[in-house]
Every structure is written in C-alpha cells, then in structure tokens.
C-alpha cells in the first residue's frame, strides 16, 4: 500500500488516473460488447419462440467468447482493388469516438475518468468521426453495396444529428452546464425525463438512428445492401465494426440515462448499479425494436427527421427557453 502511494506520488496522480481510466474503459467496452452480443441473441431467441445460445457455458454465456476466438482465428481477407490505406484505417477509426466517449460518462459519483466541463460536447464532436469512418469504409471497399450504404449513412447522420443535439440542448438549458456530472447532480429532485418527455423521445429515436439499429438500419440493410458498408470486411476488422456498434448502443443508452433518467442517482443501491440497470434497460428497448419492426424506407427516414423531429425539437427548445426565462 505504501509503495503504491509512492508510485502515485512519483508519476503524478493525473497520469495514474488516466492510465487506470484507459484500462477501465477498455474492460468496460469489451465486457459490454460480449454481454450485449449474448443479450441480443437471447432476446432475439425468446422473441422468436426459440431459446438462443445455450450450449457453451451456463445459459450460453461463454458463446460470445467462442465467437470472438473464431473471428480472431479467421483469415483477414482483403479483396482485390480496395483502397488499402482507407480500407484498413476505417475499422480503427471507428473505435476512437467509442473510447473517447467513455472518458466523460459518469458511472458513479466518483467513478468517472475525467469530468470535463465540455463533457457532452466531447462525445458529440467525436461521434462525427464514426460516420467518417463508415464513409471511408464504404469508399475504400470498392464495392457498390458498401458505397450505397455509406452514402445512406451520411444522409441519415446529417438528418438525425440535428434533433439529437437540439433535444440535448433543452436539458443543457435546464442544468446550465455541459458537464455530465453537473447534469446528473441537477436531477437530484426529479428526473429530467418528467420535465422533458418530448426531448427524451426525440433523443431516443435519433439515438437509435445514429447507431444504425432497426428500424433505421439502412446503411447495413441486409435485404437490400447485403451488409452495407461492412460487406467486404472479415475476421477481426468485421469484429471491430461489430464491437463499435454494440458499444455505440451502450453509449446512446448511457447518455439517455445521464441526461434524462438521473444517471447514477437512486435509492438504497450504490450508484453504479443504478446506472447500469437504467442503461441496460434502455439497451433492451433498442434490442426489442430490432426484433419487432421492419425497416423504414430511405425517404421515409429522412422525411421523419426533417419534417417531424427537427421542427418538434425546435419548438421544444423554444418552449424550454421561454419557461426558464420566465
């Protein structure tokens, strides 16, 4: 114990915190992705009158590990004529926003890698990078299906980023801060979801769209575009896209929890448990969507955002601002 404090004193507390945070984030990302692949299969199974994985480990819990090893052991196939630098850059790039986002999410009152006063802006700014990587994946793959998927992804992203920002802005007005921790603390009385039900719905819908999940999974619509932007990816590169997708689901749910559902606050149980219960509750809803809804069409998707969500979120923002000023 003494030696530990010595080491901390030697390299400085900030550095230790940063390294510990990074390791923690990586663990959370991997464990979460594994848990979610398992959950998705189980949820899908039970919704489709079957059981889902059950052979590998108790309740099939080890199944995702088996799959991970299978993917790792597979050959990395690079098709002919791909733009190599872009093709290899994309799966790495898609992981940066995922890792950065975890830095500012408060899992508990004390459990946060760093409380930046620009918290939410960091997440939003870096999330644009994931679209960018989908784009270069689509472009670099030298495949028309990938390209169409990538173009869809951009149009979708542009359309849904605006209502997403505006709905969060309404909460930021109320909490008067960009810091996620301050926002959680501001909900000590009543959760923001009760003040801002419309903003919550808009955020959730836009969030599902941003994570490319059904019914908004157009960039990877398998019945139209085979697999969309990741058609040509195999092995670990495919796994990285997969991992990023599941982590994005978690992040969207985590932001929704933090902004609208009181984050880690809750009675009796420790904060971290409350945080995960709420987050995974929302994650479950997103999984539920996937197994019940068909996919919307491209123009319907854009119309929904431009004609309904964006005007609605503007009105919501105006009303919030007006009420707060009075």
């Amino acid at each position: 114990m003494e030696r530990l404090t010595d080491i901390i004193a030697l390299v400085g507390e900030e550095t230790v915190r940063a390294i510990a945070g990074l390791i923690g984030v990586l663990i959370v990302v991997v464990v979460n992705a594994i848990l979610l692949t398992w959950a998705e299969r189980k949820v899908a199974g039970h919704m489709q009158r079957r059981i889902g994985p059950k052979e590998v480990g108790p309740y099939g819990l080890i199944q995702p590990f088996a799959d991970t090893f299978k993917l790792l052991a597979k050959e990395l196939l690079v098709p002919k004529d791909v733009a190599k630098p872009l093709y290899h850059l994309a799966p790495i790039l898609i992981f940066i926003p995922v890792l950065v986002s975890f830095i500012v999410i408060p899992f508990d009152a004390q459990l946060q890698v760093k409380d930046i006063n620009m918290g939410i802006l960091v997440i939003l700014a870096f999330s644009s990078l994931s679209v960018f990587s989908i784009l270069i994946a689509g472009w670099g793959s030298h495949n028309k299906y990938s390209l169409i998927g990538a173009v869809r992804s951009v149009a979708q992203n542009i359309a849904y980023e605006i209502p997403l920002l505006l709905s969060l802005l309404a909460v930021i007005f109320m909490a008067n801060s960009f810091s996620l921790k301050d926002i959680v603390e501001a909900q000590k009385g009543l959760w923001f979801v009760f003040y801002q039900p419309i903003a919550f719905l808009i955020f959730f819908v836009a969030g599902v769209a941003e994570t490319n999940r059904t019914p908004f999974d157009l960039p990877e619509a398998e019945s139209e575009l085979v697999a969309g932007f990741h058609t040509e990816y195999s092995s670990m590169q495919f796994a990285l896209f997969f991992l990023a997708e599941y982590t994005n689901i978690f992040i969207v749910s985590a932001i929704a929890t933090t902004f609208f559902l009181g984050g880690y606050s809750g009675p009796v149980l420790p904060g971290i448990i409350w945080f995960f219960v709420k987050t995974y509750g929302l994650v479950f809803v997103i999984l539920w969507f996937r197994w019940t809804f068909p996919r919307v069409r491209f123009d319907q998707l854009l119309n929904f955002s431009w004609k309904i969500l964006i005007p609605l979120s503007f009105i919501n923002l105006l009303v919030t601002g007006g009420i707060l000023k009075i």
Binding site: A83, P85, L86, L89, I116, N117, M118, L121, V122, L124, A125, F126, S127, S128, L129, V131, F132, L135, I136, G138, W139, K144, L147, A150, V151, V154, A155, N157, I158, E161, F178
Partner: protein, 167 residues
Amino acid sequence: MTLGELIFIFLLFVTFCGALTTVIARSLIYALVGLVATMFGIAGLYIYLNAPFIAMMQILIYVGAVAILIVFAIMLAGPFYKKPTEWSKVTKFLVSLIIALFTYLLFMRIILHSFLGGQDTAFMITTKDIGRSLFDKLTFPFELVSLLIVVSIIGALMLAIFSKDRK
C-alpha cells in the same frame, strides 16, 4: 523539452502533414482524410491554447459537418466522376504562387493589426464570453450571418426542386 512542448510539436506535425496531404494527394478522398487530420490538429492546438470550447466546436463543425458534406459531394459525383482537363505545370505554379502570396499577406495583416498582438499569455475564453459577445456586442453581424445562411438554404432548396423537375 517538457511534455507540453512535445505535445505541441506533435500537434503541429499532425496539422502540417494533414495540410500537406490535402494539397498534394491526387485522390480527392485522401485529400479529405488529410483535411480531417488538419482539423483535428488545429483542434488540439486550441486545447493547447486553453480554449476547449472552440476546439470542440472545431471538430463538431469542421469534421462533423463540413468534411462530411464534402465527402457526400465527392461520393455523389464518385462513381461517374470525370477528371477535369489538367492544367499545364506553369499555370499550376503561377496560380499556387498567387494564392499563397495573397493568403500570406492577408494573414500578416491580421496578425500585425490584431488586438491580441503583444500579449504573451494564453487567453482564456469561456462559453459565457463567447455567448455574451455574440448576442451583446456583435448582435447585428451575427443576425446578418444567419440571414445569409437562411438565404443560401432557400437557394439550395430551390435549386434542388428545379433540378428535380428537369429530370
């Protein structure tokens, strides 16, 4: 050399390399990747200058919106993109020289006459200051800019509608 200086040099390096790629790359999409790297480098420099808000806005707007719109444009033209006729080397050289000189002079003028000139401490700008100056001191130009944007949006919509009719 301290850690801070190292980071500064690294950011400069990223910015510079990105800018160079943007200019030199023969393929549009690589040029764009370079541009995005530059934007990130600049954002890093802003953070170095203790202006995280501007840094985040830099990424949000330039990477999240501008760069993606550019890719969108490239992709729409993509599969059927025809290379324009090449300029001769002399013309290229002359044009780049003129643009470089113009930019250099412009920047020199701004830096020499800047109200920040002479201060050697890093400046501190908070979101509050930015909001105040936008809505108090600079209300008129701010509104003017928004008007410009509205006009351009309407123009773009009209263009889209008319070109759709033509098809």
